[in-house]
């Protein structure tokens, strides 16, 4: 690890504001990120001073630029690049915002601080000199610019010292180190360990792990049922939830558990297109974060339920049925057409069954059988029978 602090003032007067001493140690990774930011800015400066139009080139994050890698089982970003020229009415402001954020990130790294997405938004937000216009009007304008920078620089969000809100929780037979603090996930009470957005090895290390698999459920309410019933203790596993669509931190942690500890990831999600989509994202990645798929996707993830057949198989009451909306039907069709599902007989059958049923079911619907039916009967039986979709 090189000490960059002495060198920094020569590059930029801003770095002098950064703290000195032990806290000011710039890691090698940060130095790399700084170099990338500088290269981006230098390119713009060069173009500007030589009379060429400054353009930021940003890898496209669209469906058309997302490829399905069948071999590795993940979504990957293609090579298409979007140009963001300054002198275009549509992109002038975004161009300005991109340079502002680049500068903001640089300051963050220099200061050896991390900031939330909202914090970055506020740091870069000010009134444009000589006008009444703000550089950013709201956070919705700021967040995509940060994602642009991620792909443009090829740096992860954590490398940019930006984090998102914690989302999702974890309990189970594992001990981890989080920023030096040992956390025993067996003793997390009813709340569980809150999953941070940055879970890279330099932040979170795995220690003692007896768990044999990970059970990921969709929502906190279901997760609480499993936790209260000490499911993870009885079945020696790790129990997680993502609060709906799993955030990056959650997905990354699941992936690390899967890859580093070899734990199978088994998902218990609602029987509806949204549940299917959550599974699809966990397993293969998403379009907007295709550039991160290799760090997020878990191609071996399994879909345990709820299954369309469960209504009859478990003998559920009519009351649990929720009619499919038009949008659900449309969405189901789209999901069925995903290349990784399209060629998958099991999934075609599953989605077909959902549409034939004409209704969807939440995990909680199993409560109509018994409060702990899901933890005591449903999941154990399915696990035992290895009755899941892959």
């Amino acid at each position: 690890m090189a000490k960059k602090n002495e060198k920094a003032p020569a590059e930029s007067p801003q770095s002098s504001k950064g703290p000195s001493g032990a806290a000011g140690r710039v890691k090698e990774r940060d130095a790399k990120t700084q170099k990338k930011i500088e290269a981006l800015a230098q390119n713009l400066v060069k173009r500007t001073l030589s009379g060429r139009e400054p353009i930021v080139e940003i890898p496209l994050r669209t469906k058309s630029n997302t490829n399905w890698n069948k071999k590795s089982g993940i979504l990957e970003m293609g090579g298409a690049i979007a140009e963001r020229p300054l002198f275009d009415l549509k992109s002038a402001k975004q161009f300005m915002q991109t340079t502002l954020h680049a500068s903001t990130i640089r300051d963050l790294i220099d200061a050896q601080k991390t900031s939330s997405l909202r914090g970055v938004y506020y740091k870069a937000k000010h009134t444009v000199a000589g006008t009444k216009e703000n550089t950013f009007d709201n956070q919705e304008e700021s967040d995509p610019i940060l994602e642009d920078l991620e792909v443009t620089l090829g740096s992860t969000r954590e490398e940019l010292h930006v984090f998102a809100e914690n989302r999702g929780a974890m309990v189970g037979n594992i001990t981890i180190i989080d920023r030096g603090d040992e956390i025993n996930c067996r003793r997390m009470g009813s709340g569980g360990y809150s999953m941070p957005s940055i879970v890279e090895p330099d932040i979170i290390e795995f220690r003692k792990c007896e768990a044999k698999f990970v059970l990921h459920v969709e929502k906190g309410t279901v997760w609480a049922r499993f936790n209260e019933d000490r499911f993870w203790e009885k079945h020696n596993c790790i129990l997680t939830h993502g609060g709906g669509q799993a955030a990056r931190g959650c997905r990354r942690l699941l992936q690390r558990l899967n890859q580093e500890l070899g734990l199978p990831v088994i998902c218990l999600l609602d029987n509806d297109p949204y549940g299917h989509y959550i599974y699809s994202v966990i397993k293969h990645g998403s379009i907007s974060l295709a550039f991160e798929s290799s760090r997020l996707a878990i191609p071996q993830a399994k879909y345990l339920g709820i299954r369309a057949k469960d209504f009859r198989q478990c003998g559920l009451d009519d009351a649990v049925k929720i009619d499919l909306t038009d949008n659900d039907i449309k969405r189901a069709g789209e999901i069925a057409a995903y290349p990784w599902f399209e060629s998958h007989k099991g999934w075609q059958k599953e989605i077909g069954a959902l549409l034939t049923n004409g209704f969807k079911m939440e995990v909680e619907s199993l409560i109509t059988k018994d409060i702990s039916y899901v933890t005591e009967v449903y999941v154990p039986e399915r696990l035992k029978a290895k009755d899941w979709l892959e």
Partner: protein, 699 residues
Amino acid sequence: MESAVKERNPRSEKRRGATAEEMAARQKDVSVSEFFVKNRHLLGFDNARKALLTTVKEAVDNALDACEEAGILPDLAVVIEDLDPRRPATAKSSRYRVTVIDNGPGIVRKQVENIFGRLLYGSKFHRLKMSRGQQGIGISAAGMNGLITTGKPMVIHTKPNAKERAHHIELAMNTKSNRAEVTLDKETKDFPPERFRALSAGTRQLAQEGVFLSAESFATGTSVSIELEGKYQRGRGSVDEFLELTAIANPHARIVFVPPSRVAQDDADDLLPGTSAAVAQDVRSDAPAQTSETGGVVVFPRGVNELPPETKEIQPHPKGIELGILLQMLKDYQAKNKSGTLYDFLQEDFCRVSATTAAKFCKTIGVTSRTKVSDIEPPQAELLFKAFGEEKLAPPPTDCLAPIGVRQMLAGMLKGVKAEFYAASTREAEVYRGRPFQIEAAIAFGGDLPGDQASRVIRFANRVPLLFQQSACSSFKAVTETPWKNYAMQQPRASLPVGPLVVMIHMASVWVPFTSESKEAIADYDEIRKEMRLALMECGRKLGVYLRKRQKMRREGERRDVFERYIGEIAKALHAITGTEAKALYDALLEQARAKTAVADQELDEDGRVKRQQEADSDDEGVIIIDSAIAPVEVAAPIEAPQFETHKSAAPSRTRATPPAIKTRKDLDARATTKSASPASPPPKPRSKPLDRDDPRLF
């Protein structure tokens, strides 16, 4: 007004009530003054304010007609003297003396009584010729009104011969005999009357400069003074508006107006939008006079130095007459020419009737070409009238019309309305009811005109402003029917367009169909309204082109604005990352921004297509654009360059963005381009005042 004495049969039996004899005793001549008093509203003397206006109007119309007929460039002085300046502020009216002095040919002595002293006496009623007055009611009615309200005779100075003395005549109308009685008749050297020059500080100053009633300009001429009970007030329907509009429609005339020293208290501030300023401007530029509030003299300068072409008198067109008129014409012809044939009558007394057509008409009604007019029976005349309607005839000749002309209208508008864009168009002559007419329209847009009100419509018939009954006028309807929305204007449903717009409509005709004798509104003939609409649409299209161009320039301005707004931030951010001097970055980016927008200015029209140079020019005939709102957009609100902290040495003034120095084709276009339609004088005054960024008038 023929006397209504009727003999009643004395044999009539005695019935209840009056006997025929008793009734006969009550039947007598209607006195002209009685008729007048009862019908003054028909002639435009309904109230004190309007009476003053009508008096001025009739005198001015007569003066202009006389000058033009004699081929003299009109130079008019209109003087209104307040004869009771010490009246209480609450007085509803006051006594005024209206004097109109022209430099026309003068009037020969023996005609004076006839012209000024008789109602319905004139040269204009009996012929089809384009002129301001028509019936010959005007000036004598004004004199009558004066006589009735004040008892004072009309005072006339007229000098028909430059080498001889002028006549000074005072006329009082004998209301019984419909004849004028001369109360004073002498010769005088005093023409133009000396005393007017010393009327006020303004007139003294103008006279000293030789631009007010100079003896050289008024070698011949006439001065008419009428005393009357009236009310002088500015605003709509005022003498001021009338003269201002007259000046617009008669750019060849020079008019000096000396208003009374005192303006009626109420709504004295009801000035006309966008025009009072123009008047003040004229005063300042042409004659150093006091402001109009203190009785300053207003000078409407001459805009063009040529008279309108002389108009020819035409014979009536067969399709333009009524049966009664035909019968009268037959009678008149018979009286003139005892043995005249119908065949000759048709050819001589009508236009567009050739020998062949005349023979055809004769055959149609079953007479020969030798049949005398005296042998034509009423049924045959009726047949002839029917044949007129059925026969296909060439429309009447149109050389009897003298439109104002595009160039002159633009000159007039430029003089009277302070705007930024002017367009005018003259239609080809058309015919209604066998009478030729021609429609012209002009519009003025933007500038100092108020932007949030309904547009102002100024209407003219044979160069005479029409001030009242706007909504009854065909021209008003034509304006509301014109699709102004197509020309980038706002227009509420079936009403006037809203915006900084003045619409001028002129109808020239040998016989303007007024809705009433006070000549305030043009009757709504389909043919006329259609022509008006077409003329307005021509102007509107030009306005649309201009407005869209302006809109586009605004977009370009915004575009430049957007770029320039952000480059300061970008320079700062890049400086923070790379350490490159922010000022250098800013300057380089600014240069690029300007080059970019300049390219866009040149290459693209509003659809983003490359525009050819010629296109813009092709439609510019009849258009004047004043360098005003457009140009400042180029420099409007230059974004202040950020003060870069790291370069404190740079002087603040140097880091300010200088206004772009780009000269695009459109930039040049926007300079007071007067193209083919540049008026002789006065030249458009370019306004260099850059408009505020927040100025609401800026689009």
